[in-house]
Assembly symmetry: C2
Homo-oligomer: 211 residues x 2
DNA sequence: TCGTTTATGTGAATCATTATACAATAAAAA
DNA sequence: TTTTTATTGTATAATGATTCACATAAACGA
């Protein structure tokens, strides 16, 4: 299974949950394709490769699909604990975002180097000094961190996360982090979100539209 | 030129600017490749397709590369004006982010429906009521908007942006927006950034590592 | 019951991307 | 000057993803 396919599966999964909440029971490949912005052929191909089958002429059963895709995506009833490292404006904004709960993701703590930030008690989750990173990560079995520190602190913070045993990072700093295999040859999973880069790409595409 | 290639070119461009600011004058394909996280072959291939040439054994001249790539990316001295629609926590955090300036992107205004938000005078850029959208967009020649409204307001806000003549949108809401051709057959450029989806993908990749 | 319609499932064909391999070339070394 | 070395530039091969095309099956209608 390649990366694009994971993205599509995750999309299908969310769309299906929406359709279910609207009361639908069946879905056709081309409906799902429209909603996910892909072709119907690829939806059928994806399901075919995943050995998920529908009914000829009847489409796919939504509940069955949700169960099958959820299994593939590793969905459990237990929420996944994550932390936010760097509690500036962006980090704090994400702390207040309540769109993670439906996806089974729970922010359990923030970390910052600034005592003015971590001493306040006004945040939706506790904020700790960086020195307590290892302790919280291991006691709460945290695998994934959101990194929202300033550019200059990116490399150091990332290194600390790796040392603390974090396995996945969602990095919002403009420095592109690259996975480096650890002593056991395991590579962390890193997603870089670079907002300025996204805007630049939009401007490029506006200037030189395709076809 | 395909989409992946644009992303790479934008990456090269930023890396080259960093290298230049460090005082370097030449760069080899494999250096750039390492920094951009791709193979050296693909760097050479990209440049070859763009008809950008280096010196055999001497690598590429950084200033020349920056000029050539800047031209391709449509870089001008004039900053590009953008607006932020939806001035909740995320929108306001982006307003304060100062990493756009070096890329020639300038946030000129925010928009919100809430009088409590747009009446305050504590923001780094003016915040207007949504009713003034069309006026500001046309008077400042704004082509691109960042959309940071709650999920429930996404479709409506997006429609208003399209009506106001916005051509590119960076959408942070969990609803995936799709480009729809307007009366003249032109499609807006839309980039969707879905933070929960990114996290879900990280969890997936952690659970089922590739190879 | 028997065509007709509709949608799935999938092998084959097409298209796109990336890697490989190496000739060409220039600099450095001998 | 000649040889060695390092790197570009690109043709070709390999790989991978997507679409096409159609056989297959189920439901519907007459």
């Amino acid at each position: 299974m390649n990366h694009d396919m994971i993205i599509r599966i995750t999309r299908y999964y969310r769309i299906l949950n929406r359709l279910r909440s609207l009361g639908l029971e069946k879905v056709f490949a081309h409906n799902l394709a429209d909603a996910a912005g892909v072709s119907a052929a690829i939806v059928r191909k994806d399901f075919s490769l995943l050995e998920i089958y529908g009914q000829k002429r009847g489409g796919y059963d939504i509940l069955f699909l949700i169960a099958a895709l959820g299994k593939i995506l590793g969905k459990t009833d237990e929420p996944q604990n994550i932390i936010i490292v760097g509690c500036g404006r962006i980090g704090r904004a994400l702390m207040h975002y309540n769109g993670f709960e439906p996806d089974g993701i729970r922010i359990i703590a923030g970390f910052d180097t600034d005592p003015l930030v971590y001493s306040e008690n006004v945040h939706p989750v506790p904020i700790y000094p960086m020195s307590r990173l290892e302790e919280v990560v291991s006691s709460h079995q945290v695998d994934v961190a959101i990194l929202t520190v300033p550019e200059s602190a990116t490399s150091d913070s990332f290194q600390r996360l790796m040392n603390a045993g974090i396995k996945g990072v969602l990095n919002f700093s403009p420095i592109t982090l690259k996975p480096v295999a650890d002593a056991e040859g395991l590579k962390p999973v890193i997603h870089n979100v670079n907002i300025a880069l996204e805007l630049e790409q939009i401007f490029y595409e506006l200037q030189f539209p395709k076809t």
